[in-house]
């Protein structure tokens, strides 16, 4: 005999094997014991829940030579004949292939004759929803009043397709989807019997994919064993089912949470290169989010459902808020149905994840607007505290004064912004401010610069017209430096209320207050070499130096120095000025 699929080998042969359908089996068993058999039964329920198996067991139980008993003996001649389908009195009819009125007429004619060996003639009509209306109607009369020795069992996955007149003539039993835990238990039993070593997590994954169908679960188990041999690891299951690895999924969720588009795209590129299908990735991502939600809200259920609760999961579950997860999940679920229909699913997936990233954040924004305001206030208070601190502390040396002036130009600048000459601006840039610039802050600004421009344009077109000529060249946590090519653009952007509008838009989009600082390109290019140096390893050292300078009156000189140099350059031009240090 050639190889038989696991789901055929492990087809239930006794009522007690019929796991997950206790409500059905108990009723049937009691009916047999009390001799209160109906002449027609209708078994309905999703695929792989045991309808056909139950019908066969029932046929055996009523006909068993050692019975009728609550369980068939599976030993006697009768039971064995029914099991291998050779009994003369138990007919298994495939209604999908024999759906016409002729077949039913034929059946009706034969029903009359008494059973040859068994007590009852049992007709199991499988996939009964496929019968044509005429065939159903031909069956009606027989179904209502069959001869006493006949039992009909109709099995179907789609009871709503049956005529109400058929349903009303049957005792109806609804089979339920088999629960996750029951499937896992059954899989464990089968693995143990076949001496297959397994990882719990592997079985969880199988059971989840089976989605309530025992046959699906066994089919999948078969498939994984065929691929991976006697060792059933999660890795093998993932390979066979094409499931994306957990770590990748966590990283993706992490990327969405952190709003890091480049991380998300990198991961997606990698997944595509490994041959993962876009719809599978989305499906798995939805499940990962759901797991995280479960862990957050109902840890007990999560455990039962096989959601892994190890280090990375917990960490992630703690980091992402429930509201955020819901928003992400919502956005993903909205996109899921479209994925099947678009011509280029991979690009759609990329877009969908990036949108989930943004939408999740915007929901955070909606709910957390008050906390954001508080944050703003905190910042303001901090600034004020600093100023108060300085005022209270007796300023005994000159350096203090300079620091004071310096920081006020950075932090309180917007209130008093008289038109400055470019020389002053150059000086300002070369000071403390530049030390604080970081490429990361700049990147953040640059990424949303388009958005900022767009919003400014909506607010006031004229401001946009000025601003569009500038480009962010450096940024600290508080200040954005914009470089302009022409003086007029530079000056006008700096002036109120233009400046106020721009700053307001930036703070709306980035959720953080920034001040803008304008600079001419020519000036910027002068300071840039210094800037580049700073980004290298000398940066730390540099900062130390500048701190020291703050404390010593030397600072004064250096500032004056650079302003003198700047002045010299503006007067004589860049090419003619040579800087010599002594």
């Amino acid at each position: 005999m050639s190889y038989r699929a696991l789901y055929r080998v492990w087809r239930s042969q006794r009522f007690e094997d019929l796991v997950g359908q206790e409500h059905v089996t108990r009723t049937l068993q009691n009916a047999i014991m009390e001799q209160q058999l109906s002449h027609a039964y209708l078994f309905s329920g999703p695929r792989g829940t045991g309808k056909t198996s139950a019908a066969k067991i029932f046929a055996k139980a009523v006909n068993c030579e050692n019975g009728p008993a609550a369980e068939p003996c599976n030993q006697c001649e009768m039971c064995r004949q029914i099991t291998d389908g050779s009994s003369m009195d138990v007919f298994e009819m495939d209604a999908a292939s024999n759906r016409g009125v002729d077949e039913i007429r034929d059946l009706r004619d034969k029903v009359k004759y008494a059973p040859t060996e068994a007590r009852y003639k049992v007709y199991i009509i499988d996939e009964v929803h496929m019968l044509t209306t005429e065939a159903f109607n031909a069956l009606l009369k027989t179904l209502e009043e069959p001869p006493p020795h006949v039992i009909f069992i109709l099995a179907t996955t789609e009871p709503h397709k049956l005529l109400p007149t058929i349903i009303s003539r049957c005792q109806r039993f609804s089979f339920r989807r088999i629960s996750f835990e029951v499937i896992v238990k059954r899989l464990q039993l089968i693995c143990d019997t076949n001496q297959i070593r397994y990882e719990d997590q592997a079985l969880f994954t199988l059971a989840r994919t089976a989605d309530g169908g025992m046959r699906d679960a066994l089919s999948l188990l078969d498939q994984t064993i065929a691929f991976g041999g006697e060792d059933l690891t999660e890795e093998v299951v993932r390979l066979v089912l094409g499931i994306v690895s957990k770590e990748m999924m966590y990283q993706l969720v992490h990327g969405i949470h952190e709003q890091d588009p480049s991380l998300i795209l990198q991961l997606l590129d990698q997944l595509s290169a490994e041959g993962n299908e876009p719809d599978r990735i989305l499906y798995d991502l939805v499940y990962t989010c759901r797991d995280l939600l479960l862990i957050q809200t109902a840890p007990k259920v999560a455990k039962l459902q096989g959601a892994e609760q190890n280090g990375p999961t917990e960490e992630l579950a703690k980091k992402v808020t429930t509201a955020r997860l819901q928003a992400i999940l919502d956005s993903l679920l909205q996109d899921q149905p479209h994925l099947k229909h678009v011509s280029n699913p991979r690009i759609f997936l990329e877009m969908s994840l990036l949108r989930a990233m943004n939408e999740g954040a915007s929901s955070d924004r909606d709910t957390g607007s008050s906390s954001q305001e508080i944050q703003l206030l905190h910042q303001k208070i901090e600034q004020l505290e600093k100023i108060v601190d300085r005022l209270v502390r007796p300023s005994d040396d000159q350096a203090q004064v300079i620091v004071n002036r310096d920081s006020s130009s950075i932090e309180v600048a917007p209130r008093k912004s008289p038109p400055r000459s470019s020389i002053q601006r150059g000086k300002k840039l070369s000071s403390q401010l530049l030390a604080k610039t970081s490429p990361k802050a700049l990147q953040k600004i640059q990424q949303s610069w388009g958005d900022i421009l767009h919003k400014v344009r909506n607010e006031r077109v004229t401001v946009h017209a000025w601003l569009v000529n500038g480009e962010p060249v450096a940024a600290t946590d508080q200040v954005v430096i914009l470089a302009f090519k022409t003086e007029i653009h530079c000056e006008t952007t700096e002036r109120q209320p233009n400046r106020g509008i721009i700053e307001q838009v930036i703070s709306q989009i980035l959720q953080h207050t920034y001040q803008i600082q304008t600079v001419m390109w020519s000036d910027w290019e002068l300071v840039q070499p210094e800037e580049e140096q700073k980004s290298s390893s000398e940066m730390v050292e540099d900062r130390v130096v500048s701190k020291r300078q703050e404390e010593s009156p030397n600072q004064m000189d250096s500032v004056r120095d650079s302003s003198i140099v700047d002045q010299a350059i503006t007067i004589f031009g860049k090419d003619l000025v040579q800087i010599k240090k002594d």
Binding site: P261, I347, M351
Partner: protein, 335 residues
């Protein structure tokens, strides 16, 4: 031919061979995956492998059985294809009839149902019993592009085998083999265009792509002249030829490239367009591009419908973008 000729599907072949080696060949398989992944060819190889007289993991291609299967006239290896549009009930009934008795040579019968999704529900249901409990040793292989297009009850009786779509780089090589030179071969690899339908050479394609890039600039900036572009001869020519999908695909790919450039993740394989990409990326954002792409995708879907005029669809698309209208998937009319 043998398994070795299909290197792209290494995982599938490994899976099938392990099943043979472990004597765990199921009686129902569902091969699914996009077009051009050699599903049918591998199904035939599989049929050969399990019946090969030398009983090798890789069919020998020399024994009479292999040869017969190769030439398509083995009595026990059947390929069923849609008769007209559909696989008919009659075909399945004949098949069941034929498979009722054990085959003479004691071999495993194989039936390959190509385009198994082209079947009415009634026909698919006929398969159910036949698939679940075959009367003689047999193997059924269902082939389809979309796994979900097969009824769930049938799917639950089969082992699903996924065929991987070749990566864009591999597809680019295929396009090159069809005479499309870089960089356009990589652009086309990302499109869902088919070899047979494309009657253009690389230069013409590149010319169109450059036009699309210019057009996209207008669209991104929401300039009112974007609608005028539709009247330009190159655009009209493509509309006449019913190849608007090509424009939309190009537009989508370009926007994707720009949006990736905007966050510093430009696709290296498109280096030829790097300059334009980065200059455009400076003036837009990733999320703006994403919105546009979504509109393109919807329009791309609508354009495929014969009852709608392409010209007006494109015009509507441009206007929607200019008005910044939200994308409306419900227009596609599916649930």
């Amino acid at each position: 031919m043998s398994f070795q000729s299909y290197k792209d599907q290494k995982r599938v072949i490994e899976f099938l061979q392990t099943a043979i080696r472990q004597d765990r060949v199921a009686h129902g398989y569902l091969f699914y995956g996009p077009k051009g992944t050699y599903k049918r060819e591998i199904a035939l190889e599989f049929a050969k492998a399990i019946n090969c007289e030398k009983s090798q993991l890789d069919p020998c291609d020399e024994c009479p059985t292999c040869k017969q299967i190769e030439s398509g006239n083995h009595p026990d290896v059947l390929v069923i294809e849609p008769d007209g549009n559909m696989i008919k009930m009659e075909q399945i009934k004949q098949l069941q009839h034929r498979f009722r008795y054990q085959s003479a040579q004691g071999m495993t019968r194989v039936v390959i149902l190509d385009s198994a999704d082209q079947m009415r529900i009634e026909t698919a249901n006929t398969l159910l019993k036949f698939l679940e409990e075959p009367t003689s040793p047999m193997l059924a292989i269902l082939i389809t592009e979309q796994e979900k297009s097969i009824v769930q009850t049938v799917r639950s009786r089969c082992q699903s085998v996924r065929f991987v779509e070749p990566t864009w780089l591999e597809q680019a090589k295929m396009w090159q083999a069809h005479g499309i030179q870089p960089p356009m071969n990589y652009v086309l690899a990302q499109c869902s265009q088919k070899f047979e339908q494309l009657e253009m050479d690389s230069e013409e394609l590149e010319r169109i792509f450059r036009h699309v890039i210019d057009w996209s600039q207008l669209l991104v900036n929401k300039q009112s002249t974007a609608i005028v572009t539709i009247q330009e001869p190159w655009f009209q020519e493509l509309i006449q030829k019913k190849q608007v999908t090509l424009i939309l695909d190009f537009l989508m790919i370009w926007l994707r490239y720009v949006s990736r450039s905007a966050i510093g993740m430009a696709d290296e394989n498109m280096a030829g367009f790097a300059e334009q990409g980065s200059s455009q990326a400076k003036r837009t954002t990733q999320s703006a591009c994403a919105k546009l792409i979504e509109q393109v995708m919807i329009t791309r879907k609508l354009v495929a419908r014969p009852e709608l005029s392409n010209q007006s669809l494109i015009e509507q698309f441009v206007i929607r973008i200019q008005k910044d209208a939200p994308s409306d998937w419900t227009k596609l009319g599916y649930n």
